[in-house]
C-alpha cells in the first residue's frame, strides 16, 4: 500500500476508431482513480494505432501503454494475452477493466487465469468501498455489482486479496464523458516479444458488419418477450414500433425462442438502453432484463400476469392480452393528431 493505485482499461478499436465501450470505461476509470487518488492507464494494442493514444488521454488516461506490432492485427487471443499478461505482471495494476465484447470476453478470462486474479463478468455498476471479512479490513476495494444467478438479486463481488481486480462491462452501461482536449498524458511504448506458440492460430477471413438496429440511440423502444408467443406474432411488435417511430427490442426469452436476433436483446447480456419511452410487451421482467432498461424515462408494461415483476418498475401498467392492447394502441396512435 501507499503506492499509486492504477486503474487500467483495455482499449478496443476497429477501423482506426476506439470502441464506445472503451471510452465509457475510461470515463468510469477516471472516476474510480480520482476516488483512489490513483492514475488511469490505457492498454492500446494493435498495428498503426499510436495516434489513438491521444484520444484515450482526452477521455481520462494518464498513461497509455502502446504495443504496435504487425502480429497484433487483427485481434488474436494469444499475442494479445502475451502482451497484456506481461504488463500486468510487471506493473501490478489495482483494477483492470475490459468491455464485455467478443474480444473482451475472449481476453479477460485468459489474463485472469494467468494472473490468478478474480474476474466478474457483465458488471452493471462499479464503486469503491471498504470490506470487512474474517477480522480483516480491506480499504477501497472495487465493488463489482451485477445481477446474479438468473434471479432477482443484485450481487456485490469483491476480490480482497488477489489483484488486479478485474471486471467486464457491456457497452452502454457506463456513461460516456465528454473528451477534454486539454488533458495531457504519457505514452509508453512496449516492444512485444512473441514466442512461436503465441502464433499457433491464424485468422483466415474476417467479416464484421455494422448493427442493423440502433437500440442505444433510440428514443422510443418497443420490446417483446416470451409472452408474444411466436415469431409470426412478433410482427405486432414491429407494427407498434413503426407507428411510434421506434426500434424493436426483445427480452432474452424472446431471442432464445428465435423470435428475433440477438442484436435486439435488451438486458444484462444484451444492450443497455435509456430511451424516452420503453414499451414492454409480454415481458415478465427478470432482473437481467430490467438491468438493461430501468433507466428509461417512461415505461409502459403490457402483461397478462398481474404479478409480473415488470410491473414493479412500470410507470403505466396494462394488465391484459397484448394481442388486443397493441392493436388498440396502434389505432389510437393512427388517430392521434401528431
Amino acid at each position: 500500500m501507499g503506492e499509486c493505485r492504477e486503474v487500467w482499461v483495455f482499449i478496443e478499436h476497429q477501423d482506426g476508431r476506439i470502441a464506445d465501450v472503451s471510452l465509457e470505461l475510461l470515463t468510469k476509470a477516471r472516476e474510480l482513480a480520482d476516488r483512489l487518488q490513483g492514475a488511469v492507464a490505457a492498454l492500446l494494442l494493435g498495428h498503426g494505432v499510436a495516434e489513438l493514444a491521444e484520444i484515450a488521454i482526452h477521455h481520462g488516461a494518464d498513461v497509455v501503454f502502446v504495443a504496435d506490432h504487425p502480429e497484433l492485427t487483427p485481434y488474436r487471443t494469444l499475442p494479445y494475452a502475451r502482451v497484456a499478461i506481461e504488463l500486468v505482471r510487471e506493473y501490478k495494476p489495482y483494477i483492470l477493466l475490459l468491455g464485455a465484447t467478443p474480444v473482451g470476453r475472449d481476453l479477460a478470462p485468459r489474463i485472469a487465469s494467468a494472473c490468478w486474479a478474480g474476474l466478474t463478468a457483465d458488471c452493471t455498476a462499479l464503486q469503491i468501498g471498504d470490506v470487512q471479512r474474517s477480522g480483516e479490513t480491506y480499504t477501497e476495494l472495487l465493488y463489482q455489482i451485477r445481477p446474479a444467478f438468473g434471479g432477482n438479486v443484485i450481487a456485490t463481488i469483491v476480490n480482497p486479496e488477489m489483484h488486479p481486480q478485474m471486471a467486464t462491462v457491456r457497452e452502454g452501461v457506463m456513461q460516456l464523458g465528454a473528451p477534454d482536449p486539454t488533458r495531457s498524458g504519457e505514452v509508453l511504448t512496449v516492444e512485444p516479444q512473441f514466442e512461436e506458440g503465441d502464433l499457433a492460430l491464424q485468422v483466415v477471413d474476417r467479416s464484421l458488419r455494422l448493427p442493423t438496429c440502433d437500440l442505444k440511440g433510440a428514443s422510443v423502444i418497443v420490446a417483446g418477450g416470451a409472452g408474444v408467443g411466436s415469431k409470426e406474432n412478433f410482427g405486432l411488435i414491429y407494427d407498434l414500433a413503426e407507428v411510434l417511430g421506434g426500434e424493436v427490442a426483445a427480452s432474452r426469452a424472446a431471442v432464445d425462442a428465435g423470435f428475433v436476433s440477438h442484436e435486439h436483446q435488451v438486458g444484462q447480456t444484451g444492450t443497455t438502453v435509456r430511451p424516452r419511452l420503453y414499451v414492454a410487451c409480454g415481458i415478465s421482467g427478470a432482473v437481467q432484463h430490467r438491468a438493461g432498461m430501468d433507466q428509461s424515462s417512461k415505461i409502459i408494461a403490457i402483461n397478462s400476469d398481474p404479478n409480473a415483476p415488470i410491473f414493479q418498475i412500470a410507470h403505466y401498467k396494462i394488465v391484459g392480452d397484448l394481442n388486443e392492447v397493441i392493436p388498440a394502441m396502434i389505432d389510437a396512435l393512427r388517430g392521434s393528431p401528431e
Partner: protein, 296 residues
Amino acid sequence: MAYNCVVLAKQVPDTANISGKAMKEDGTVNRAALAAIVNPEDLNALEMALQVKERHGGNVTVLTMGPPRAAEILREALYRGADRVILLTDRKTAGSDTLATSYVLKCAVEKIGDYDLIFCGRQAIDGDTAQVGPQVAEKLGLPQITYAESILSLDGREITVRRAFPLGSETVKCRLPCLLTVVSSANQPRPASARRTLAYKLAAIPQEYPALLARWPEFETEEALDLFLGERGLRISVWNGADAGVDYDRVGLGGSPTKVLNVNYVVLGASESKEVDATKEGVAALIDELVKDYTL
C-alpha cells in the same frame, strides 16, 4: 486420423424462462421450481465432438464438476453418444468461482491426458460469464477458439473453424491441441438415442447405489450392485480433487479470488405507477397523455 475429444459440461438450473410463477412472494427466485438441466450450449459442444468422432474416429469423454446429482447430466451424455463420462465431485471444491473451477477442470483434463480437442459451451445460463473455457485453455497452455460455430476442416494436426459473433464472423486456422467454446447456432444437438438410453439408464455413481438398491432389492448389497454395474461398463467414474491432483488451497471459497460481499433482493417501488385499463378507451387515454406530456 482419429481425434480424442473432451467435453466440459455443467448442470445448471433452467433459468431460461423465469416467469412470475418462479418468483416467490418476497421477489426472490424459487430455485425449487426450476429444473436442473444440461447447460444448453454444452449440448452444442457435445454434438460438435460427436460429429468429429463420427467423421474421423476417436472418442468422446464428458467431464463435469458438481454435486453427486450432476451424474444426471452424465447419463444424458451417455444417451446421446459419449463413450466415457467422469464426475468430479468434492465438497472442498464447493463455492469455487470461475478461476478455481478452471483450475480443478485443468487438473482433471490433465489426468484424462490423451486429448486433441476440448469442447465447452460458450457460456452457462446460470452465470453467463463465458470465463471457464478460456481460463482452462490458459491453464493448459492451449490456444482457444471462442464463439466456435462450425468446424470447416480438420486435417492432421490443424483445425479450421468459423467463429460467429453477434455482428459478423471470422475463420481461423489453429494447430491442435486446442480448446473450443461452442455457440448455440453451431448445430442442433441430437436427442438421446432410445437404444443408448436403454443401455445406460442404470449407469450410476456409488452415491446413487442406495436408491438403486431400493428399486432392485435382488442385489442385496451395494457390493453386488457395484460388481454388476462394473461388469457392464455402467459404473460412472467419480473423482475427487485429490484423484485429479488438485491443490486444495486453490479451490473452494478459500481458493477463489472473487467473494460475494452481499446480495440484495431487488424490491423496486412502484413510484408514480398508473394502472391503465386494457380497453380501447383506456389505451387511447394513455396515448393522449403521452402526446400531451411530449413523450410522443
